[in-house]
């Protein structure tokens, strides 16, 4: 069976709303406004869309049949994913396109959790919850504390993730957090959930984001340079906390093996790295699980500056979820496409970047990886 998807599908449109506070706008409206932008970018109208994949909002809305009435179309193929981060939506779109179930698919995510004051800090009435384990920062802090104990990473080494994100965000007009933050500034901040500080955690924001994917044959007719999908992989840990050491997220190793094996590529082929980053520690884990740094040495590797502006492997050039905006990681792919098109603007454009990788997870339940490029591989 031919399972090689390399170069068969391309991203031909990207769009998003302003990020931050969008009072009075539902997740569905934010989705549709983003799709409008993506269609404008792709030079198409709704008649060209025969697929729609929506991603649920934090509240569980933004389902395809809730977006449909606003978008005003009944596409042949419609699906909704509970899992965010864009990787899973993109993978489903590739599967739909290569199997002929759809030709041109819009993906979208919409959120209004900031202005709706969604209670991210609320606790479940479990032993953990009533004991005060709250916010995703809690589990991430547990995982980081264990990592520090096993490998001896310093706060400064770890701090390069948040400081680096801010360095990039300062060059991105869309980013919500653009004030300078030096390593000294970072280290001077108090712990929020020790060993995590405030800049090690994303801040929730409202917005919408959309991508349009089509077959490689059709992509040639679109106005922008197509960005091809060369590889994709996923792995799950759906047993959740019933998996021993679930916070170490070892299951990501399977997604790593699969994407390197199926593409025949290696870490040195990647020009730009994007890692979904609700917490800075998830980034460190990803860098190690996907083999960019040896196990236990991710902090030292980061401190060498590879991922900073001017480094050999720019990381989250938009500022990521830590400094750009929430959007569950979707804006990472928007930024990757901008960079690969050469359209990221003079302040942060990385020269001659041809291949980008995007890594993301739904906390400790599921992970995904994609490699996208300016060529068909």
């Amino acid at each position: 069976m031919d399972s090689d998807i390399r170069g068969k599908v391309a991203i031909v449109g990207i769009g998003h709303t302003a990020q931050g506070e969008l009072p009075g706008q539902s997740p569905e409206l934010n989705s549709v406004l983003a799709i409008k932008e993506a269609m404008r970018d792709a030079g198409i109208d709704r008649s060209a869309l025969d697929g729609l994949i929506t991603c649920k909002s934090v509240q569980g809305t933004n389902i395809d049949w809730q977006v449909g009435p606003l978008l005003g179309i009944n596409p042949r193929y419609a699906q909704t994913l509970d899992y965010g981060t864009c990787n899973f939506s993109m993978h489903l779109a590739v599967q739909a396109i290569v199997t002929g179930m759809a030709d041109t698919v819009a993906l979208c995510y919409g959120a209004n959790a900031r202005t709706m004051k969604f209670p991210f800090g609320a606790s479940a009435p479990t032993l953990a919850g009533v004991s005060g384990l709250m916010h995703v920062g809690g589990p991430a802090a547990l995982a980081l504390q264990r990592y520090k104990s096993l490998y001896g990473m310093t706060d400064e080494e770890f701090g390069w993730i948040a400081v680096g994100a801010r360095e990039w965000a300062r060059r991105n007009p869309v980013a919500l957090f653009r004030d300078p933050m030096s390593m000294d500034d970072y280290l001077a901040m108090e712990y929020l959930i020790e060993p995590l500080r405030r800049p090690d955690l994303t801040m929730i924001s409202d917005g919408g984001v959309s991508l349009i994917l089509t077959s490689a044959e059709r992509a040639a007719d679109f106005p922008n340079k197509p960005i091809y999908i060369l590889g994709m992989s996923e792995a799950s840990q759906i047993r959740g906390e019933f998996t021993p050491d679930y916070l170490d997220r070892e299951f990501l190793g399977l997604a790593s093996q699969q994407i390197w094996n199926s593409t025949g590529m290696s870490q040195s082929d990647i020009d730009l790295l994007y890692v979904q980053d609700p917490t800075a520690f998830w980034v460190l884990q990803m860098i190690e699980h996907f083999g960019f740094a040896p196990r236990g040495e991710g902090g030292k590797w980061l401190a060498q500056g590879h991922t900073l502006p001017g480094g050999s492997l720019p990381l989250n050039t938009n500022g990521g979820q830590l400094s750009e905006c929430y959007m569950w990681g979707w804006m990472h792919i928007v930024e990757a496409v901008r960079q690969l098109r050469g359209a990221a603007g003079p302040e942060r454009q990385v020269q001659d970047a041809e291949i980008a990788m995007y890594l993301s997870t739904q906390t400790w339940f599921k992970g995904g990886a994609s490699i996208i490029a300016t060529h068909k591989g």
Partner: protein, 136 residues
């Protein structure tokens, strides 16, 4: 003084045996009647052997810290007076993992540190199992 932190539904049939045992100073977990595997929190079927029979049994109150996190901000107002407070994942001597508070002295707080269960009477109906560090 009234208890201002979140409380569990101690009457919920799934977990009622755990909470009522806690009131008597006993730490419990669910155990599969077929393969004897422990599980916590409760599940409707044993994930090790897919048999449904289970009973709540008393387990060891000795354990070690898998990891811990120190909250310097209260995400619920009830925890404000406790700041900074410590939450840990503890693995007990039977291999069951519990996420709970570390109370008392923090001398020697570390990954791998030994702890012993302690039971805090929070309300008339709710007693919280928590942990204290054991001096080596």
């Amino acid at each position: 003084m009234t208890y201002s932190k979140p409380v569990p539904d101690v009457a919920h049939p799934d977990m009622a045996p755990f909470w009522s045992a806690a009131r008597e100073g006993r730490l419990t977990a669910q155990r599969c009647t077929a393969c004897k595997s422990y599980r916590f929190p409760t599940l409707e079927i044993c994930p090790a052997c897919l048999e449904q029979g289970a009973e709540w049994v008393e387990v060891s109150q000795e354990g070690t810290i898998w990891s811990f996190a120190t909250y310097h901000r209260a995400f619920h107002p009830g925890f404000k007076a406790d700041l900074p407070y410590v939450v840990a994942i503890v693995e007990n001597a039977d291999g069951v993992r519990y996420t709970g508070r570390i109370l008392g002295s923090r001398e020697g707080l570390a990954v791998g540190a030994r702890v012993r269960a302690t039971f805090v009477e929070c309300t008339e109906t709710f007693t919280l199992p928590a942990w204290e560090l054991v001096a080596d």
